[in-house]
């Protein structure tokens, strides 16, 4: 079944007096009498992976807070940290008591607890090296993107809040900075850079130019330039030594990937939204992360990508969140020294992050998508590789699964406890995304959710 000329194209926008609204999914876009299952408008499942370092404050969430004691079959409420997600608690699973084994120091060594963030969605212990021979496994967002990404303009997008350029000294302990700079790994040696600037994210989604027409014209120019680039690479390759050729081939792959995107872009040409392009990196965390969340929702809405990955902070972040009411910075707060007041401060910061996250969940829940909402067709996995960060403990970590995953995620319980290694949640998420694999990293079995 194909869309005919009588249907609106996949992305259509109403242009009004100076304002253009995106109407990405009108009922009229689904050809009459077609079953949703076979229509090009068939909602696809989206995956979001979100990393926040240092875990959650002990006892302020389902890891042992008495206020969330389970009753028969289902917990009655949410802990302090997860309160902002209360409206959607039927659509979420909190997995507690996880062991972030892949983030633990390799046998016979210790330390480097802040240098192995990459393990959070790969379940693979990063190889200890500060050289070029990095090895960090493949993250689930990329496994999913490699399966479904070919159908969309961008196979996946990577976003972050903090610029590693400003904080290069933290990735010590003999670990490459690559492990703390990225939680999205396309191959064991290919971490994908996370973009900080919302403006650049917008351009990645819609191209460079102030009007859709201009963006289209520039795409055509880029296409011809890429041809020349391809020719040049071939020429260079013939005179460079073997090891350089490998890198040139990587570059060529990237060029091909870009050509492919231009082709897909050309197919959906002319319909990019005329919304106001956000300028630059916002000063406040609040504004910044909400913009990033909005852009992800926008990308899903327009089916530009189905996979995104976000880093809320980097390990050892010294960012503070005045909006939370706590002035102490992220990392020092996580070292609460088991002092009740300071632990509460840390929990307050955690809760503040959940408030920001709730903005995203709300947006997904309010955006119509096919026969339901974006939230129905999305799976968000929020994870961290620490339990009690005060001791850098990788035991007792928690992950969140939010969203319907197109009907595959129908939580029976709000909280699942003691689910084994964190890789088990990764396996679960992959299976909910329809990837048929029975293990990832050091997983033992999927978590029953």
């Amino acid at each position: 079944m194909y869309l005919t000329k009588t249907h609106l194209p996949r992305r259509t926008f109403l242009r009004g007096a100076g304002v253009t609204l995106a109407l990405p999914f009108l009922d009229s876009m689904v050809p009459a009498l077609s079953a949703l299952g076979t229509s090009p408008a068939n909602p696809k499942t989206r995956l979001v992976t979100i990393f926040a370092p240092h875990g959650w404050a002990p006892t302020y969430w389902a890891d042992g807070d008495p206020s969330v004691a389970p009753t028969a079959g289902r917990n009655t409420g949410l802990g302090f940290i997860h309160q902002p997600l209360a409206p959607w608690q039927d659509k979420m699973t909190i997995v507690s008591g996880l062991d972030a084994t892949s983030s633990m120091p390799p046998p016979g060594s210790s330390g480097g607890d802040h240098s192995r963030a990459s393990a959070v969605f790969t379940g693979t212990s990063p190889k200890k090296t500060s050289g070029a021979d990095i090895h960090g496994g493949v993250s689930i967002d990329q496994i999913v993107a490699q399966k479904y990404g070919q159908d969309t303009l961008l196979p996946s997008i990577q976003l972050a809040i903090e610029d590693p350029g400003a904080n290069t000294g933290i990735c010590g302990w003999g670990y490459s900075c690559a492990y703390s700079n990225s939680v999205s790994w396309a191959a064991p040696n290919r971490p994908l850079p996370h973009e900080i600037n919302p403006q650049l994210v917008f351009e990645r989604l819609y191209g460079d130019g102030s009007t859709p027409e201009e963006r289209q014209a520039r795409r055509v120019a880029s296409d011809s330039i890429l041809d020349a680039v391809t020719n040049k690479i071939t020429r260079l390759r013939s005179r460079l030594p073997g090891s350089d050729r490998t890198r040139l081939n990587d570059y060529l792959d990237s060029v091909r990937e870009m050509e492919r995107r231009l082709q897909v872009a050309a197919k959906v040409s002319g319909e990019s939204p005329n919304i106001e392009v956000p300028f630059g990196v916002p000063e406040s965390f609040d504004e910044h992360i909400k913009l990033h969340f909005d852009l992800q929702a926008l990308a899903f809405q327009g089916d530009i990508t189905r996979v995104s990955s976000l880093m809320v902070a980097r390990d050892v972040s010294l960012r503070s969140y005045p909006e939370s009411g706590v002035q102490t910075a992220n990392h020092p707060s996580s070292h609460h020294g088991e002092d009740p007041k300071r632990r509460e401060d840390w929990a307050t910061i955690n809760q503040y992050h959940m408030k920001c996250f709730a903005h995203f969940v709300k947006k997904l829940a309010e955006t119509a998508d096919g026969d339901g909402t974006l939230l129905d067709h999305t799976l968000v996995l929020w994870g961290s590789n620490m339990g009690n960060a005060n001791q850098h403990s990788h035991v007792g970590a928690g992950y969140l699964l939010v969203g319907g995953a197109s009907g595959r995620h129908q939580p029976k319980k709000l909280t699942v406890r003691d689910a084994g290694p964190t890789s088990n949640v990764l396996l679960t998420a992959m299976q909910l995304m329809g990837v048929e694999k029975d293990s990832i990293g050091d997983s033992t079995n999927a978590v029953a959710v």
Binding site: S110, D163, N197, I225, A228, D250, S254, G280, E338, N390
Partner: protein, 848 residues
């Protein structure tokens, strides 16, 4: 009168600075024996070296090399007790190592030498021979290792992608345009401590996209054809204080922001500014009467705002100006007239961080502040007619239409030559002109064609990557000299972080650059050129971790005086200090010892240096009570970045010294147990444990696992406890006098920063070795390992003759085999071929 004398002081300081620059023109050091070209394993850098020069304060280097038999005896006595085949302490065994044939064990022996040189072995508590014996042992081992390394380690750094900094600098060199690369390209990973290491500069589709999109935008910007309006925001950092004069703004003004903005096209621009307001919209500093903000473009006042007219209790600010501006760089200032400023010598003086309190407090004086500036435009933008970039790019202007092609060829050939860092061939011109024609087309203009041509050049892999092609017909593993053009690129990216200029390309294309005299003269020219500031910014910035300064955020409750002004001053001080060593060609040992630094009023106040007024930095001598500030160890930047937000960290400071002075990376600690807290509560608040940091750290050493390393690091940090977490001098902690006594692993006792500095001076050869190693990594853009150590030692030995002048280290590196030669690496050949075959089989994609 007072102002006059200040100016006199400034003038004097300037004179001293310039005088210093002029008088230092050292003789070129003797040329190292140059390696033979294109022959396998010939260079023998280490074999014949002149006798050791005498060094300042360096007993170690004067020691005679110990014989292998004697080495065995010393090692059996002092090392093998722990490092034997049974115990394998730290995985090292020395009982079975043949010291008469060190090649097979070079890696472990390099480790041993490094630790002995650093004074860290034998460990404290263990028996140790006298210093002369240890020095002689190290000397002997080094001599054997250097002899054993028959051929220098020549690992080609490989295909080198321009990192953000290099990309931005190359764009400036090429097009006269300053860009913020962070706005175009994703961040680069750093490897071996630097973000210019080729192996760490990976590629991804996002990167390709970044380069492609940058090429499009920059080509428009450079020609002044970016006429679409855009918004630029400039934010004052949250802890930026605005009570003093800002350098670059007129005298008689207070605070505000000074912005260097690029106006992409001729047209009207909207300037909007926003004052700092409290949580409920109250205007910060509103009680200060008759406040006026003035707006300046390129130093000329273009507008003024009466602060009393600003609304209260809302953040709905509409403080806007709409002005016609010509394209190009302009400085835009938003600042307050300081006619209301009262000398702050009354008792009620608030903290130096001027916006710490968000509410007015009676009895204290607060002044309004600029929080944010937006520049929007151009409105009705027209293509710029006269900018520096256009002048640089448009080398000719075609008259009649038939001249266009010839002119386009001239322009694009010239740009491509610098972008590709080599002379241009006919084939290149053909491609460039295809771009030009595609842009020019029938409907387009001459400049449309040039724009497309520039876009093509900036997208070209030859611009984005530095590559070095081996000569044909080499055997695998064969050593060869890189060609002059490749050498020009290596030099330019090392010393300037950018592409070589015309002079370098000219010399290189005539094959003259590798001539030792020419090379020497070029290196000296390049160091003297302002572009070598990039070496300071990028090398020193990463080596000394100055790039971490922006994220250093001391707890405001404990350090209410700390502000961004101080943070920036720390950075400027450290950069100027390193710059003075480079530009005045001083001994790099001065980095540890120099008796001068650079301060402005803010920093002088922090350091307790009297009679320094104003925002400008000037050189001051560090003597008397300021002696503790001498060298890197007394610099605020180092002391701040090695502290926690709320306290000092003797461990981090000790680690810093170990890594940056002694060249040893301490091993990983086990899981960190929390430091003891008091556990007591009062009024719902924890009672801080009021014992000194030193006492708290004793816990580290009570556990044997911790102690083995912390006995190396902590005492170094203890000696620096007289500087608090923001590098301010102190004599007490919690009302008790500080105990600054400390001891190095070698048993030498000392106290305080000056004592530490003097104790470390004995290790200055090790410091030079370590600095050279870092510089070597940075210069080559590759990681180093034990196989590189003979080359590095050779550079240091040569440099000793000039007492380690900076120029001798730089020249030593650029004339070293590693910098001038590669070894042919045929690895990966098979894989590539297999892939090529696969690609031929893939049908070409359909064009749309």
């Amino acid at each position: 009168m007072k102002r006059l004398s200040i100016i006199a002081v400034i003038a004097l300081a300037t004179a001293t600075l310039h005088g210093g620059q002029a008088q230092q023109q050292p003789r070129a050091p003797e040329r190292a024996q140059r390696p033979a070209v294109a022959s396998q394993g010939t260079p023998t850098e280490s074999a014949a070296r002149p006798a050791r020069p005498t060094l300042v304060a360096s007993s170690e280097r004067q020691a005679p090399a110990m014989s292998a038999a004697m080495q065995r005896q010393v090692m059996d006595q002092y090392c093998v007790t722990c490092h034997n085949s049974r115990l394998k302490t730290a995985g090292l065994t020395f009982d079975a190592v043949d010291l008469t044939n060190v090649a097979p064990n070079a890696e472990v022996l390099e480790k041993a030498v490094r630790r002995v040189r650093a004074g860290l072995m034998p460990p404290s508590g263990a028996r140790r021979p006298d210093a002369a014996t240890l020095a002689s042992l190290a000397e002997g081992l080094e001599a054997s290792l250097d002899r054993a390394a028959a051929a220098p380690n020549l690992v080609a750094p490989g295909l080198h992608r321009l990192n953000r900094t290099e990309y931005a600098n190359a764009i400036r060199e090429l097009l006269g345009l300053e860009i913020d690369a962070a706005a175009y390209l994703p961040v680069d990973d750093s490897t071996s401590g630097f973000d210019n290491v080729a192996a760490g500069l990976t590629v991804s589709p996002a990167l390709v996209e970044g380069y492609m999109s940058a090429a499009g935008k920059i080509s428009r910007l450079a020609l002044g054809r970016a006429t679409a309006p855009e918004e630029k925001r400039y934010l004052a950092p949250q802890d930026y204080s605005q009570e003093g004069h800002v350098e670059g703004l007129p005298f008689g003004t207070r605070g505000g922001l000074l912005i260097r903005n690029y106006f992409p096209a001729d047209g009207e621009y909207l300037f909007a500014w926003f004052p700092v307001r409290g949580n409920t919209g109250e205007l910060y500093g509103a009680e200060s009467k008759d406040e006026q903000l003035i707006v300046l473009i390129d130093g000329e006042q273009v507008g003024a705002f009466d602060i009393s007219k600003l609304p209260q209790g809302t953040d709905n600010d509409k403080n806007e100006l709409r002005l016609k501006v010509k394209a190009g760089y302009r400085t835009v200032g938003f600042t307050f007239l300081s006619n209301t400023q009262i000398p702050g010598d009354d008792l009620n003086h608030h903290y130096l961080r001027s916006v710490l309190d968000t509410n007015p407090i009676s009895g204290f004086i607060f002044y309004p502040q600029v929080g944010q500036v937006k520049i929007l435009g151009p409105y009705n933008g027209a293509v710029a007619t006269d900018t520096a970039s256009r002048k640089k790019i448009l080398a000719c202007t075609p008259g009649p239409q038939h001249e266009e092609t010839a002119c386009a060829r001239t322009i694009l050939n010239r740009l491509a030559r610098q972008a590709f860092r080599r002379p241009i061939a006919a084939e290149d011109t053909r491609t460039l002109m295809e771009f030009y024609q595609a842009g020019r087309g029938k409907a387009g203009t001459f400049e449309d064609g040039i724009e497309r041509g520039i876009q093509g050049i900036l997208s070209d892999p030859e611009f984005v990557f530095r590559s070095e092609a081996p000569p044909s017909r080499l055997r695998a593993g064969q050593a060869y000299r890189i060609n002059d053009l490749e050498l020009a690129s290596r030099l330019a990216f090392f010393l300037w972080s950018t592409t070589p200029d015309d002079q370098l390309i000219n010399l290189a294309s005539r094959g003259q650059l590798s001539d030792p005299k020419v090379l020497d003269a070029q290196v000296r020219r390049m160091v003297a050129d302002p572009r070598s500031r990039e070496l300071v910014k990028n090398f020193a910035g990463q080596w000394l971790q100055l790039r971490n300064l922006p994220s250093a955020a001391p707890t405001t409750q404990m350090f209410p005086d700390f502000d961004d002004n101080l943070r920036q001053a720390f950075r400027v001080e450290a950069e100027m200090f390193f710059d003075s060593i480079l530009r005045e060609d001083r001994s790099v040992v001065d980095l540890l010892n120099a008796n001068y630094t650079f301060v402005n009023e803010r920093l002088a106040r922090h350091y307790g240096i009297p009679n320094i007024y104003g925002s400008r930095f000037r050189r001051v001598t560090l003597d008397g009570a300021l002696e503790d500030r001498r060298g890197l160890l007394g610099k605020g930047a180092v002391l701040l970045t090695t502290s926690n937000p709320d306290r000092t960290s003797p461990v981090l400071r000790g680690k810093w010294v170990l890594m940056n002075v002694l060249g040893v990376v301490p091993p990983d600690p086990p899981v960190v147990p929390p430091l003891r807290e008091s556990g007591k509560m009062a009024n719902g608040q924890p009672v801080p444990l009021e014992i000194s940091m030193r006492e708290r750290m004793q816990e580290h050493r009570s556990s044997p696992t911790c102690a083995s390393c912390h006995t190396m690091m902590d005492p170094i940090g203890f000696a620096l406890e007289s500087f608090d977490a923001i590098g301010k001098a102190r004599t007490q902690e919690f009302g008790k006098a500080l105990d600054l006594s400390a001891q190095l692993t070698d048993g030498v006792k000392f106290a305080g920063p000056t004592g530490l500095r003097q104790a470390l001076t004995r290790y200055s050869p090790q410091f030079v070795n370590n600095l050279t190693e870092k510089l070597f990594v940075y210069a080559l853009g590759r990681s180093v390992d034990y196989r590189d150590m003979p080359q590095i030692r050779a550079i240091v030995r040569d440099s000793a003759r000039t007492n380690y002048r900076m120029s001798s280290l730089i020249l030593g590196i650029v004339t070293s085999p590693a910098f001038t030669m590669n070894r042919y690496d045929a690895e990966g050949e098979g894989a590539t071929e297999a892939r090529d075959r696969k690609e031929t089989a893939t049908p070409k994609k359909d064009r749309i």
